[in-house]
């Protein structure tokens, strides 16, 4: 089984994000970027499938500028076999990315496409679903477990109030949730090996797709600052505040 994993480069989840003063977006200059944590989980899962002998090849794809090669390199150090950069310096939104991924899928013919359930920069949670619609493939979103079962993929999904289990015929699309696995640390020998693994570059422009942004950001603003706590004098005081100020009891 051939697995294609899509990875996104985002502002590191630990970095305190600053909103641009004109409200047009967030500050990305001189800010630490890393692989989207859910994408990291997707890569880890693909590598585990390979280690279990279920996957035969793991190909990593990222859409965006040249520096995304670093993110691909990270995935290669974790154990992916080769990378594809779909290069574009334009703003890419989920629909555009899904279209680019579709053309990579058509070229690579994977049996499984793994993605993160969402990216922590825009929290769209759309790309996997759109790709599924564009390809007409089945999808298992928010996966917390993936097993092979009678030639199908059995995917456990985290849904409101419980778990849902799906058997998916391949080719299919799965998006990774937080509890799917704990991504590994790349070992030094694997980091060195990753340098020699191939990364192919495809120019997005040359694919002739309409990837223009459909969404327009009107304004980005900081959430209101949390107010400092107060120390109450007594339990009665606390109950009074919960009742009359916070109105939660």
């Amino acid at each position: 089984m051939k697995v294609l994993v899509a990875v996104k480069r985002v502002i590191d989840a630990y970095v305190k994000v600053r909103v641009k003063s004109d409200g047009s977006g967030v500050e990305t200059a001189n800010v630490k970027m890393s692989m989207n944590p859910f994408c990291e989980i997707a890569v880890e899962e693909a590598v585990r499938l390979k280690e279990q002998g279920i996957a035969s090849e793991v190909v990593v794809v990222s859409c965006g500028p040249q520096v995304n090669q670093e993110t691909i390199r990270t995935a290669l150090a974790m154990g992916a076999d080769r990378g594809i950069l779909v290069q574009s310096d334009e703003e890419l939104q989920p629909l555009g990315i899904a279209k680019l991924l579709k053309s990579v899928v058509e070229k690579e013919q994977p049996d499984l496409v793994l993605l993160g359930k969402q990216a922590v920069d825009n929290d769209f949670n759309q790309t996997g679903q759109m790709l599924s619609a564009l390809l007409g493939w089945s999808q298992g979103t928010f996966a917390s477990k993936i097993e092979q079962q009678d030639g199908k993929l059995r995917v456990t999904r985290e849904i409101d109030g419980g778990l849902e289990t799906l058997d998916l015929a391949t080719p299919t699309i799965v998006t990774a949730d937080l509890r799917l696995n704990e991504p590994r640390y790349a070992s030094l020998p694997n980091i060195m090996k990753a340098k020699k693994k191939p990364i192919e570059t495809i120019e997005a422009e040359e694919l002739g797709l309409d990837i223009a942004p459909r969404l327009k950001v009107l304004n980005v603003s900081e959430p209101p600052a949390r107010q400092a706590g107060v120390r109450v004098e007594s339990i009665a005081d606390l109950v009074d505040k919960l009742k009359n100020e916070a109105k939660v009891i």
Binding site: K32, S34, E40, E70, T74, A77, Y185, S187, L188, M192
Partner: protein
């Protein structure tokens, strides 16, 4: 005792009027302030004074001096040599700076900020970070210790290699002397050669010469890019050789090189929740290495990978990992912190915080290990430290199954052997933690008579009645 009027509690009357009820704790409320971090000293104070302003500190000290009352300056009480707590029960008052915790100003252009001495170190780091600046001082106690305590112990920590000790980070100081004189040296200047640089006297002198009430701190551009690696080594000399190569080949970007022994990491993984060793095999020594820069895209990753490639080719590094996100980086640093937590409560723990010239570190650790094993063959040694600073935390304990091991009766002998060896290397028996009440004998043994004599003269000149932090250092 003075003839001036005292209250029943033995406290001068003026103190309560000066400080109010929140500023003066007695009895049970005061008791915990007499206990040090490791629980090795527990002497209840007569009272705890908690002033809110420099003027209150000055007036309180004046009153105490007038009444011949001994005063222990206290910060966050995280010190490791019993310096911040009384040496006698019910005899001394503690002057705790905790309520003086305001940032006075922050000047980005001048890369400087002024703070009250009672600010918690982590809050100072955060205030600097919010202004896109770095206050580099950082160590395990940063969530509790105060800037005044860091100054008074000249604390080091994990960023000394790049930014120096606390002393190197102080531009100005505000100090109150025992008689209540306020020395305002809050100048935010990088150059100021006007006579004797008095502030230096109070940095690292553990509260025996004056009480620090404020400081002007040196800031740096914020770190925008950093790469962190955990490296596994075949031997101690390989660690040292790798450090030397790293220092030369990282374009002055090296900001940490923390050495850890395998047994320390194993203990951390076993005894501290959520700590994982990301390296698969077992190796005798590890180091956490970090390079950092104030600008993204300065090629740190290639530099680090180039360095590691070279170290691996030369057989100096056998395995390891490079963090690929800030979250992985935090987990690697967690190992370093947990290593300390994991053995803090081991039976008969003996801590030695020593320094030797960097080039002698491997030799020192190997020789000291042999010497300790001769005296206490069943002891467990955990030697870790800041390689860039020549600083080894040469800690010795027993494992939990051996609570009655040989250290129980041989602690003095072991420490003597370690310190004597340190002296042979012209090292220091206390690199970071100071002298306090616990290492006074060592100070007399290992510092020359003339050095001690000058220290005593300085003490006498600034605190003639000997009321500030008695029983400490000298």
């Amino acid at each position: 005792m003075s003839t001036l009027k005292m209250q029943q509690s033995g406290l001068p009357e003026g103190l309560e009027d000066l400080l109010g009820s929140k500023g003066l704790l007695t009895g049970e409320a005061a008791q915990e302030y007499g206990r040090d971090f490791m629980g090795e000293v527990d002497n209840a104070p007569l009272a705890v004074l908690r002033p809110e302003t420099t003027e209150q500190v000055a007036e309180a000290l004046r009153i105490c001096t007038e009444h011949g009352l001994s005063v222990v300056p206290q910060g966050g009480r995280t010190g490791l040599t019993g310096a911040g707590v009384p040496t006698r029960p019910n005899h001394e008052v503690i002057l705790c700076l905790g309520r003086m915790n305001k940032v006075r100003w922050l000047d980005e252009k001048n890369h400087a900020m002024a703070v009250d001495a009672g600010c918690i170190l982590a809050d100072v780091q955060k205030a600097a970070a919010d202004a896109n600046r770095l206050f580099p001082l950082s160590y395990g106690a940063e969530g509790s210790c105060q800037i005044g305590g860091s100054i008074s112990t000249n604390a080091g920590g994990t960023a000394v290699l790049r930014y120096g000790n606390t002393r190197d980070l102080i531009l100005g100081l505000e100090v109150v002397l025992a008689d209540g004189t306020v020395l305002d040296m809050m100048r935010a200047l990088r150059k100021d050669n006007t006579g004797i640089d008095l502030k230096q006297l109070f940095i690292g002198s553990e509260g025996i010469l004056g009480v620090v009430t404020g400081a002007v701190l040196k800031l740096y551009p914020a770190v925008a890019e950093r790469e962190c690696a955990l490296l596994a080594f075949p031997s101690l000399p390989a660690v040292m050789q790798s450090f030397a190569i790293a220092r030369e080949s990282t374009n002055d970007r090296l900001s940490a090189f923390e050495m850890m022994p395998q047994n320390g990491i194993t203990l951390a993984c076993e005894r501290v929740p959520d700590v994982v060793d990301p390296v698969e095999g077992d190796y005798p020594w590890y180091a956490l290495l970090e390079v950092s820069a104030s600008k993204q895209g300065s090629g740190l990753q290639e530099m680090l990978e180039g360095l590691i490639e070279r170290l691996m080719e030369e057989g100096l590094v056998l395995d390891g990992t490079v963090s690929n996100s800030e979250s992985q980086r935090a987990q690697l640093w967690r190992i370093r912190e947990a290593l300390v937590e994991a053995h803090n409560d081991m039976p008969h723990l003996l801590k030695h915080d020593v320094s030797v010239p960097i080039s002698d570190m491997a030799d020192f650790i190997e020789t000291a290990t042999d010497k300790v094993q001769e005296i206490a063959p069943d002891a467990m040694l955990i030697a870790f430290g800041h390689v860039g600073d020549g600083n080894v935390h040469f800690n010795i304990c027993h494992d939990e199954n051996n609570p009655n091991g040989s250290l129980a009766t041989r602690k003095k002998e072991v420490t003597r052997a370690v310190y004597d060896l340190v002296q042979d290397y012209r090292g220091s028996f206390s690199a970071e933690h100071g002298v306090g009440s616990m290492k006074r004998d060592a100070l007399r043994r290992y510092r020359s008579e003339s050095e001690i004599a000058v220290m005593e003269k300085l003490k006498k000149a600034l605190d003639p009645q000997g009321l500030l932090n008695p029983g400490k250092v000298l």
